[in-house]
């Protein structure tokens, strides 16, 4: 039985007040809050066995190495990767994608080649590919979005030419909540000999994800959006791909043998983890994965589908508000972007903050999508997670009614 009240007790921050009222945290697509178990794992490491990993014969070093590698194994199991060796620890999704761009793509994408992304990408899965295309003389093509805010796969066969080397797509849009048909796109990419990279920053925290079922070659996600600390993220890649990739950063830890003239590389994934890694945060990410696994990702997804459905019903009551995103909950995550023509998202966010309600206002690091496809300067966005409640959505809707009254009154005072 999924018990939200009990879950909320695990998150110390949910007890705090903002401007004298209880916090209603609806900015989970930006970052999630952390359960006590994660905070505890972090302080345990620093209080009890802080040491560098993969070197040193002393007890602390062995404990730290075991915990770090156990975290890697937990992450691998969580996304059903074949082995912990498929998991490279990085800082975040952006770094994971840049790692692929600066190693695999530099070696494999050249003049006349094609990279395909979608119109829904976060800047982190767009800007690195713009750079790769420009540097290599390749072309960057877009998979369009349907009028219903879903990924348009109708012209996949024309888009994915034999010149296509990489398809990079989001698994869940951080602006629209759209869940894309990743398996279908990956299969199409493989048919033309291209590899596929999945930006799973919004999907891995919120739904069951199985990299072997999706058959993607790369997957990138961040720890901090899935109850983990900031500064730790994951690149998953197939083993044969990792083996043929050059290192990203060079230095300590990633080498096998070094002479004054040359060096050979450590085995994967350590080849890609130059320097002392983010040990404490990786271990705490392992604790976050434990927490999510104990709840069960099917239950988390089910809870968020119910919340999103409820939110969409409540939003429909607000005539002045336009929402963006698929109406079919089976292809939508817990994200509601919305817009009021008369009141700028930043002003909406400001008034809601005074009511203790945290949402995001802006272009959500997806400027082309918001400005050229949704055709608005910015949106306000509420995004949900496993600890949110219908009562919090009611608070949001009440807050939006207050926003409407506040700016409406201010306008009518002069009328």
């Amino acid at each position: 039985m999924y018990d939200v009240a009990k879950i909320r007790k695990d998150f110390p921050i949910l007890d705090r007040e903002v401007h004298g009222v209880p916090l209603v945290y609806l900015d989970n697509a930006a970052t999630s809050q952390k359960p006590r178990a994660v905070i505890q794992a972090l302080s345990d490491y620093y209080e009890r066995y802080n040491a560098n990993v993969h070197r040193g014969a002393h007890t602390l070093a062995i404990e730290a190495t075991d915990a770090y590698e156990e975290a890697r194994a937990k992450v691998a199991r969580f996304i059903n990767a074949p082995s912990p060796e498929n998991i490279v620890f990085v800082r975040n999704t952006t770094e994971a994608i840049n790692l692929v761009a600066h190693t695999w793509a530099v070696a494999n994408v050249g003049a006349g080649d094609r990279i395909v992304v979608t119109e829904m990408e976060h800047h982190s899965n767009l800007v690195p590919w713009q750079h790769v295309a420009r540097m290599g003389g390749a072309e960057l093509k877009l998979m369009a979005m349907t009028s219903g805010y879903e990924l348009d796969t109708s012209d996949l066969d024309e888009l994915l030419t034999p010149a296509t080397k990489l398809v990079a797509l989001t698994h869940m849009s951080n602006v629209l909540g759209t869940i894309t048909p990743v398996a279908e796109v990956v299969a199409a990419a493989h048919r033309v000999g291209a590899l596929a990279l999945v930006d799973a920053a919004q999907s891995v925290p919120h739904m069951p994800v199985d990299v072997q079922a999706l058959d993607c070659d790369f997957m990138a996600f961040s720890g901090h959006k899935m109850l983990g600390p900031t500064g730790i993220g994951v690149l998953y890649a197939k083993e044969e791909v990792l083996e043929q990739m050059d290192p990203f950063l060079r230095g300590g830890e990633m080498v096998l043998e070094v002479t004054y003239e040359d060096a050979t590389w450590n085995q994967v994934p350590l080849k890609f983890e130059a320097g002392t890694p983010n040990i404490g945060d990786a271990i705490a990410l392992g604790a976050a994965v434990d927490y999510l696994s104990a709840l069960g990702m099917d239950s988390v997804r089910e809870h968020e589908v119910a919340l999103t459905g409820y939110a969409m019903e409540r939003f429909a009551e607000l005539e002045e508000v336009t929402t963006f995103g698929p109406s079919d909950l089976s292809v939508r995550g817990g994200v509601v972007s919305f817009y009021m023509s008369e009141i700028h998202p930043h002003d909406i966010g400001q008034v809601l903050d005074q009511l203790g309600i945290a949402i995001r206002a802006g272009h959500h690091c997806a400027m082309p999508l918001v400005r050229s496809r949704l055709n608005v300067p910015a949106t306000a966005r509420a995004s949900f997670y496993l600890y949110n409640t219908e009562a919090e959505i009611d608070a949001l809707i009440d807050g939006l009614n207050q926003v409407l009254r506040y700016f409406g009154d201010a306008a009518s005072k002069r009328a």
């Binding site: 401007h19 004298g20 009222v21 009141i343 700028h344 998202p345 930043h346 002003d347 400001q350 008034v351 005074q354 009511l355 206002a361 802006g362 272009h363 400027m367 918001v370 400005r371 300067p377 910015a378 009440d398 807050g399 207050q402 506040y406 700016f407 201010a410 306008a411 005072k413 002069r414």
Partner: protein, 152 residues
Amino acid sequence: MQLPSELDDLYQDIILDHYRSPRHQGLLDDPDLRGEGFNPFCGDQVVLTLGLDEAGRIAEVGFEGQGCSISQASASMLTGHLEGKTLEEAEGLVRTFKGIMQGGEFTPEQEDELGDIVALQGVKRFPIRIKCALLGWTTLQDAIAAYRKTHD
């Protein structure tokens, strides 16, 4: 739940009035100075055009923009204080306003001179909005700097 009164310091009536009915709307056809400002944080945008008279004083002002109430109201208020000023005087005005937004206080003389702009003082209590309030002003500064490059 009641909205706290703090909010009224930020959203003073005069600010919302400028937001709803911005002054000097519309760009000049053949401006002497033109500046474009963009705040990527929230997508606020201001385009400012100025026409000079023979003595080099600002004779005409036109602006367009979209964005939050603070950015647009502040830019609108600014346009009301430019006509008749030299570019140096306009820069002085920008310096004064920036100084206030960055923590200074208006002197009584400045309050007299700036009039409605004084209402923007409430923004200081909401540090994240200061950038919004400054957008039109930094756009003007940039426009003057660009003009000088080609005319000095």
